[in-house]
């Protein structure tokens, strides 16, 4: 791994340098190229690109030892070259293991640039092949995303209305706006919206196109595709093998299932469709969607930044936002150091003893930002005293990069470095903070992907101004006020809850 990585990275950098040189001077001339004008296919060409004055000296040193040295060099080099191109794994053993190894598209910065084709609308006991590939319930599904589940169920609802339930272990790639590629595993597709007609699931051996229906597809361990129709009909098209195997297309009706498999007949490979009893159990509904037990919190405001309701409050309480330069990117609010958003009205937290703020964020850079704050109104507004706020705080890059959650007016901020929650850039992260007015403590919970609770801490906040109660003031997203500490990155699903 080390040698291969070193080689690839160095080669990449060197190639980049070459391209830069060529770009800056396309007519670049190499000082010593004259000797290279001869046909390059001749294996015995000799030329000296470097000081020819040394040439005569070489002959003097051509005794046995240097030759042996060269021989050793070449043999070692050959070994390296061979090792560089040798497999290191035994593919056969990986049938099970591969479930555990995930693609990590989920965490790349590319996500924000990708085209969102749907959302994850349900998950049950999802075990991911790689924790970093996890995603949260309700998360966007970008085009090209791969999901590798080792167990559990995940439901994706495409923007077209088509729905799939992936049943782990499964490897599924969202390869189009209205379909996907499943290389192994099992899924159920449900297409009720006429807009989603033509929804297609590809497997290595077949393509199942929906004609308005509910159906199941499995790619089993042998690589055979099994398709079953529950309602309506689908068209199954066999991916051509070397020999055309009739019939290449078959329409399946309700309660029919077929198997596409390869068989060798008279030495030729045939890909055949055979009627099959449904050997597999398809999950057709996400069972008992796990609802979080009510913990006594009332929903006060919820900004989802979705579609045409970019500034709307989904809680039904009417706390809509006023936009000052934020943009809507992939159904999230995107800030570029100059924009902010502010609730149009004051949000009354005074009746509550506990307040919980939760949000998703995708940081573009690690520098000082205000993520959100309450009471830090725009310059000149009457709300100048802050009560609640969250910052990305970079005090000293080696020690103090963190999310800090505060109360008070911010003056005691420098004393609050003990709560370090290291944020990452270009990754969607979930945070939730609970402020308790009676103990004057904040319980900060960092939640990371799939609702998995990673870090939790309690600390006393605001040694400056302990408020008697929460206040009534507008919320600002992406900035504290019009002058300072702008946010760069995205914020999504911002939720304010209170407990009386």
């Amino acid at each position: 791994m080390h040698a291969a990585l070193r080689l690839q990275l160095r080669a990449t950098r060197a190639t980049k340098k070459v391209n830069q040189q060529i770009n800056s001077d396309p007519a670049i001339l190499i000082a010593d190229t004259t000797d290279l004008l001869m046909p390059v296919t001749s294996p015995t060409v000799s030329c000296d690109c470097f000081a020819t004055a040394f040439r005569s000296a070489f002959a003097l040193f051509s005794d046995g030892a240097p030759l042996a040295y060269l021989l050793a060099t070449v043999i070692t080099g050959l070994g390296l070259l061979i090792s560089a191109v040798t497999y290191v794994s035994q593919p056969k053993q990986l049938g099970v293991q591969s479930q555990k190894n995930a693609e990590r598209l989920a965490t790349t910065g590319e996500e924000s640039k990708q085209f969102v084709v749907g959302r994850i609308t349900g998950m049950v006991d999802c075990q991911w092949a790689n924790p970093e590939a996890e995603d949260v319930n309700g998360a966007n599904v970008p085009l090209g995303r791969k999901y590798v589940l080792s167990s559990g169920l995940m439901e994706i609802t495409y923007n077209t209305g088509a729905m799939v339930i992936l049943q782990g272990p499964v490897m599924y790639e969202v390869e189009s706006m209205n379909g996907g590629f499943m290389s192994m595993g099992r899924l159920t597709g449900k297409v009720e919206n006429p807009k989603a007609k033509g929804f297609a699931i590809r497997t290595p051996t077949a393509c199942v196109t929906d004609l308005g229906t509910e159906f199941g597809v499995e790619v089993n361990k042998e690589g055979h595709t099994i398709s079953r129709v529950f309602r309506g009909e689908v068209e199954l098209r066999v991916v051509a093998s070397n020999i055309a195997s009739p019939p290449a297309v078959r329409v399946l009706h309700a309660n029919e299932s077929i198997l596409v498999k390869d068989s060798v007949d008279h030495g030729d490979l045939h890909r055949v469709i055979v009627t099959a009893s449904p050997p597999v159990e398809f999950v057709r509904e996400i069972p008992g969607r796990t609802k979080r037990p009510s913990d006594g919190f009332d929903l006060i405001a919820l900004w989802r930044f979705n579609g045409g309701a970019f500034l709307a409050d989904s809680s039904g309480n009417g706390h809509s936002l006023v936009n000052h330069g934020a943009k809507q990117v992939d159904n999230a609010a995107s800030f570029d150091r100059t924009g902010m958003m502010m609730s149009a009205d004051a949000i009354d937290l005074t009746p509550y003893k506990k307040v919980r703020i939760s949000w998703r964020q995708n940081l573009a850079s690690l520098s000082n930002h205000v993520i959100w704050g309450q009471g830090y109104g725009a310059e000149g507004s009457p709300y100048r005293t802050g009560v609640l706020a969250a910052y990305v705080s970079v005090v000293d890059r080696s020690e103090h990069v963190g999310i800090r959650c505060t109360t008070g007016n911010g003056e005691g901020m420098d004393d609050w470095n003990r709560d370090q929650f290291f944020p990452t850039t270009h990754v969607w992260e979930d945070y939730a903070v609970e402020y308790d007015i009676t103990t004057f403590r904040a319980d900060v919970v960092r939640v990371f992907h799939n609702g998995r609770h990673l870090v939790s801490d309690s600390f006393t906040v605001g040694d400056g101004l302990p408020p008697d109660s929460f206040v009534k003031a507008p919320f600002c997203l992406g900035a504290r006020n019009a002058q300072s500490t702008w946010f760069t990155g995205q914020i999504d699903d911002f939720k304010i809850e209170g407990k009386r």
Binding site: L70, R104, P204
Partner: protein, 180 residues
């Protein structure tokens, strides 16, 4: 073909063969820094001679010949006490003919695909480690991070790459088996 097209074709060809070419040069030069310089020299020679390249013929075979000559002359200059035997080099060159790194299904291709999925930060860390050859302490100083955290990040990236490569190989194997 205008210059733009020429360059774009050239950089495609180079990018496709960069790992093999780099490995070939390293196998003879046995020194990363020399290999870096030699690789760039070879590429610029290839570029200046690109008009002689016949599309359809093997770019790598051509590049390897240029590389062989360049590296040999370099070694003669740098280590005049060694005599570089043309016969040996030719034998070596011939033996690398089939050692193609860039064919699909190879470890190197899988690694490359996996590397493309790394985040910018991870890629930067790998570059500091493997290209600039810094130790974890130096990287930590450079990034203002504790050495321990750099070590762990590197470990995590390598483990992830290893897992990804394994899966990529399975995937390629799988699609070859089922499609062929």
């Amino acid at each position: 073909m205008n210059n733009q097209d020429r360059h774009s074709l050239f950089s495609q060809l180079v990018a496709h063969h960069q790992n093999e070419l780099y490995a070939y040069i390293f196998a003879i030069a046995r020194n990363w820094d020399d290999t870096d310089d030699l690789y760039q020299t070879v590429c610029l020679v290839l570029w200046s001679k690109f008009d002689l390249f016949r599309p359809g013929s093997s770019f790598f075979a051509w590049a390897r010949q240029i590389a062989k000559i360049t590296v040999r002359n370099f070694l003669k200059h740098k280590q005049p006490w060694t005599q570089v035997s043309d016969e040996l080099l030719d034998a070596f060159t011939a033996s690398t003919l089939d050692a193609r790194c860039s064919r699909p299904g190879s470890y190197m291709t899988a690694l490359e695909r996996c590397r493309e999925k790394l985040t910018g930060d991870d890629e930067r860390l790998l570059n500091l480690r493997y290209v600039e050859d810094l130790g974890s302490r130096q990287i930590g100083d450079r990034l203002g991070r504790p050495q321990q955290s750099v070590c762990q990040s590197l470990k995590r990236i390598r483990r992830w790459l290893l897992d990804c490569v394994k899966m990529e190989l399975v995937r390629q194997e799988h699609s070859r088996e089922t499609l062929s």
